[in-house]
């Protein structure tokens, strides 16, 4: 009956009664744990922001049905329109039966001017700010084919008298070490010899980049930034469509061109005519004549990678 006889606890501010040390420690750790979980999960939340459910649930390229592929490509085209403001056409170019692509470069003629590097940069929708390209031209001291002795940072007037120039890109090996090391089989070798990457299946572990003895693979450190008017709209799913950040990419011998019968962009850009491309299974092809009549070398032959890329001298 007497309200004033309440216990002191009842009169105080409404704090939790009988707060034990155990409860405080529990609560503190629960809060810390929740915070830690939120922090740990932030990459997933960020990924979810840039990844649609469709993209997340997309199957491996080789398991997609024709209808699946059509839906995936339509989604990618719409995303390019939304993010870059460019109308692009993404094809699904498959190998031409009876074709095995081979490249050759005449090192007597190459003068290291780097037009191929630039052509690759533009053709394959590389990030503009990083000058990304699938080709490196190495300035080499005369007397060796050991590419590790060369330098890529040369500038000025070329060719220099005591140097020769060695353009290096993916060698489309018949025994590709990059394919062997991929933990999720996001990269594989196709029937015409081209080693491709499913950019939507790649987890970005970069094992392949480390495994490649030709330093031919590239990693997308950031989402490529390209002005809409500079985007090459002729694209292919396994080739030059704009790649997401955090995946590995590589030269595909411009399969969006070569599987439609055209020559690769780097070849067309070469002002010296050093580059030759063709089907090694065609006995009358240029490439067969070179392999049969010229002094032909391959890079790092001792590794047994069996490149589909040859260097020759006049």
């Amino acid at each position: 009956m007497q309200p004033t006889t309440d216990s002191p606890a009842n009169r105080s501010l409404p704090v939790i009664e009988n707060v034990t040390r155990r409860a405080v420690v529990k609560g503190a750790f629960a809060t810390l744990g929740a915070a830690a979980f939120v922090a740990a999960a932030s990459p997933i939340r960020n990924a979810a922001k840039s990844t649609t459910a469709d993209e997340f649930l997309q199957q491996h390229y080789q398991e997609l049905s024709v209808a699946d592929k059509r839906a995936v490509i339509a989604r990618l085209e719409a995303e390019t329109k939304q993010k870059y403001g460019a109308d692009v056409e993404i094809g699904d170019d498959r190998p031409i039966p009876g074709t095995k692509f081979v490249y050759a470069i005449n090192l007597s003629v190459c003068n290291g001017n780097g037009k191929c590097v630039e052509a690759c940069h533009k053709e394959n929708n590389h990030d503009r700010s990083t000058h990304q390209s699938y080709i490196r031209v190495i300035e080499m001291p005369k007397g060796t084919l050991d590419m590790e002795q060369g330098s890529t940072t040369y500038t000025g007037t070329v060719p220099k008298d005591d140097k020769f120039y060695l353009p290096v890109q993916c060698q489309q090996c018949d025994e590709p070490p990059c394919v062997d090391v991929c933990p999720v089989q996001a990269t594989w070798k196709e029937a015409d010899g081209i080693v491709v990457v499913d950019y939507n299946w790649c987890i970005g572990c970069r094992y392949c980049e480390a495994a490649c003895p030709y330093h031919a693979r590239r990693f997308n450190w950031k989402q490529p930034e390209i002005p809409a008017e500079e985007i090459n709209p002729n694209q292919s799913y396994l080739s030059n469509r704009i790649r997401p950040a955090g995946v590995v990419e590589k030269c595909t011998y411009c399969l969006h061109r070569t599987r439609r019968g055209q020559l690769p962009a780097c070849l067309e850009a070469c002002p010296t005519g050093a580059r030759v491309f063709g089907n090694i299974l065609d006995e009358s092809s240029n490439i067969r004549w070179i392999l049969e009549n010229k002094r032909v070398y391959i890079l790092k032959e001792e590794l047994g990678t069996k490149p589909a890329f040859f260097y020759y001298f006049d």
Binding site: I96, A104, N106, V109, N111, G112, N113, G114, K115, V117, E118, H121, T130, H131, Q132, S133, R136, T152, T153, Y154, T155, G156, T157, V158, P159, K222, T258, R260, G261, Q262, L263, L267, E268, C270, P271, T272, G273, A274, R275, V276, F277, G278, N279, S284, S285, N286, W289, I290, N293, K294, Y312, D314
Partner: protein, 229 residues
């Protein structure tokens, strides 16, 4: 003494050219026959008209092959005149405008030996004399080592007399560059001719300036690191 030695060298050069002819001739025959007749790489004009660019590749039968077009100079060069004609138009004249009224000097082999005209020309093509290639009888044409008249548009025949190994490599796509299609069942191909890349008077391929370079972040150690986003 000096004159006789130069004659000897000229004779030697001609002899080298003639021995090279054996190899070069086969290719020249191919080139001559390439435009009207068909062989493995070249088409008749009728066939190439049928296999126009708009024919879908899938519809083309396997035997259908597109043309390999080798670019050619349009014809004899024209000399731009410094002065305009009475109506104020720029004018150009044919080589024969001047050369038909001048006696050819077959000994000339460099611009320094000339007393007027062509004096600023760069010449660095071995020990060739002007009239080793230019036709002294008709300055609007060239001539081969055996005296055959060669039109300016057929200049590759002339070059191939001495440069037969390049001509053979060119025929097989290993010299000279190309554009278009590797697969001739799907589209045509265009190839350069010799003088698209080589100045015939100074044929060494010119030096170039390196333009575009990839930025390799591991090689930019001297520069301050970019801030991470």
């Amino acid at each position: 003494m000096r004159k006789s030695s130069s004659y000897f060298l000229h004779g030697l050069a001609v002899a080298v050219c003639v021995t090279a002819l054996g190899a070069g001739w086969q290719w020249m025959d191919d080139v001559e026959s390439s435009s009207p007749t068909s062989d493995t790489t070249f088409l008749t004009s009728a066939e190439s008209a049928v296999g126009g660019l708009n024919v879908p590749s899938q519809a083309a039968p396997p035997a259908m092959r597109f043309e390999v077009l080798v670019r050619r100079p349009e014809g004899p060069p024209k000399i731009e005149l410094i002065t305009n004609d009475p109506l104020g138009r720029t004018t150009s004249v044919a080589c024969s405008t001047c050369h038909s009224i001048r006696q050819p000097n077959r000994d000339n082999r460099s611009p320094e030996m000339l007393d007027e005209f062509h004096q600023g020309m760069q010449f660095d093509h071995g020990r060739l004399a002007c009239y080793a290639c230019h036709n002294p009888e008709d300055s609007d044409s060239l001539h081969g080592a055996d005296g055959t008249v060669i039109a300016f548009s057929d200049v590759m025949i002339l070059c191939s007399q001495c440069h037969s190994s390049q001509a053979i490599a060119f025929e097989h796509g290993a010299h000279g560059g190309m554009n278009g299609f590797w697969d001739l069942t799907r589209g045509p191909q265009t190839k350069n001719n010799c003088i698209d890349c080589h100045d015939p008077h100074a044929p060494r391929y010119p030096k170039m300036i390196v333009g575009f370079k990839p930025r390799d972040r591991f090689l930019e150690r001297d520069k301050p690191h970019a801030t991470h986003n």
